[in-house]
Amino acid sequence: MVESKEQNEHLRDIANLCYRCKKCSVICPVAPSGRFNPRKFIQEINLETPGRLKKGRKFCDTEEDIWVCLTCGQCRVCPQGLEIPEMVREIRKEVREQVPNDPRFTATETHMNIFPIAFELMRKNPKPAQKQTILNQYASIQKWPALEMAQTGSIAYYPGCFNLYEHALVNLHVQQTLTAYAIIRFLNLTGITPVVANDYCCGHDALWAGDEETFLSFGKRNIEIWKAAGVKTILVSCAEGFRTLSVDYPKYFPEFSFQVEFAADYFDRNQIFKKIRGFEVKCRSIVTVHDPCRSGRLVDGGHYESVRNLLQNLIFLEIVEMPHNRDEARCCGVASFRNCTDYARDMTRKRIKEAMKVGAKYIVTTCPKCVSHFQCVTLNEAAALKAKFGKDPPKVMDLFSFIYSAYNANDLL
């Protein structure tokens, strides 16, 4: 905790490095809405004396609506290296402490606030969900082979909040269970039995909504659970989970001593698919990769190539790139299930249109939130998109769900 506070002040101290090049406000997808502008936000910080700023009070009644920022990190183009998303997060936390029911905060609620409620319930719960049981139930329903999962071991797979989105956002086909199943199944096929612990949600959404308390309680218990299981390496397939575990956990928990690896990286580095006997999967389709901010811009060294390399394993698959890719990837529109607004939706639409213009039949990504937001548009506005482009909108899938579906069908069109 002490550490993070120092970090806060440090973040702010460098706000005066800004020389108003306006790169951030030009690239910021929210700025045109007129409710949030990163450059103005930095200026607000600079205008105040550090003493007043410490309490974040300024932002309780400023015009800059810090809850509107998507923390997508496109503003990281900053030539002075200002971490605007991180700053926003710190300010959010302070504002939340001072005004518990900030009307501007409640105004960003989406989905009847189901996710914060679910997280609060999870937090209270001393006995989290039996993930192994749920996974094997899923396997038996699908009539797929059962998974081998260990209770203790050195390599763990962290499914994160697991199938929460899948069931909270009905009809959007966010196949989180399939993703988890696919990864464990592929690992099993190469003789690896990963630990799947009954861990908690990583606390990403709570953290970015300024609710540090929930985040800390999740983190603490997760670390205990992993320690008890004797885990050394943790594989994370979800981009948000990866960012939280690899960047935020070490920052907040000095005792965090695990090696965190992005599942796609691990698969690529160890050539998992090459090791699976008879892995000759045909897939006559065209995919494009949407790079989520959480596994790209917002972590060091953007994990872009591994995803593409894994897709190369599929025979006949054509990978096309959208004009904005890798570090410049456009935002899916919504972060931490807040602020589903018209401009947020326009962003989602724009990204889908980008994918359609390059002729993709599938959009493959690694973030379940990107999947759900893209699906919301492709499924609900299919008719309008079809009218405009003369073809069906692309399907959106998680990387591992996509590969597993192709592997299962051996020719996914």
């Binding site: 989905h111 009847m112 606030n113 189901i114 409620i117 679910a118 609060e120 319930l121 999870m122 209270k124 719960n125 001393p126 006995k127 989290p128 969900a129 749920i134 909040c161 697991f162 199938n163 929460l164 899948e166 069931h167 909270a168 009905v170 009809n171």
Partner: protein, 169 residues
């Protein structure tokens, strides 16, 4: 929403036909009833079928446990899974959602939405770590007073077997 005067007049009434008003001074015993676990169940009833069913159960004097707290909604289609989680968050031991039978909805197909949406509630509870048996979806028509009482009885027994909700503060 703000009001200049926020005052409420309270009336407790009993018609000649009803029992003596239960709101007479009886000491408040929290949480247990003669040593037995006494569940609190949140129940949503749609205005047109289930609420009328509950009324019929009343008029017919079908006795059922005093565990349910009924909230009247216009249509079961109004119920978002968030309401159910909200109930658990506030400390309900179980949540019972009732609506009109499929095809019988006062609002054409509101209950079909409910049905489709509620398929996902049990897995959702499972992942949060709540026993899915604590939630139930039932169709009760306005003429099924007996069924209403039976379902409440049965569900209360289920919850009693499960014990108090683990996450209650």
């Amino acid at each position: 929403m703000t009001h200049d005067v926020q005052v409420i007049q309270e009336q407790t009434a009993t018609c000649e036909c009803s029992e003596k008003s239960p709101v007479s001074a009886v000491t408040f015993t929290p949480h247990t009833n003669e040593g037995k676990f006494y569940p609190h169940i949140l129940m949503f009833c749609c205005n047109w079928c289930s609420y009328a069913g509950a009324d019929l159960a009343g008029v017919s004097r079908f006795q059922y446990p005093a565990s349910v707290r009924i909230i009247r909604v216009m249509c079961s289609g109004r119920i978002d899974p968030a309401f159910i989680l909200e109930g658990f968050r506030r400390g309900a031991d179980g949540v019972l959602l009732t609506g009109c039978h499929i095809g019988d909805c006062h609002y054409l197909k509101g209950n079909e939405y409910t049905r489709d949406r509620m398929v996902h509630v049990k897995p959702l509870l499972q992942i949060i770590g709540i026993n899915p048996q604590r939630f139930r979806l039932e169709w009760i028509s306005a003429s099924e007073g007996r069924k209403f009482a039976d379902i409440v009885k049965e569900f209360t027994e289920t919850i009693q077997k499960l014990g108090p909700f683990e996450l209650k503060e």
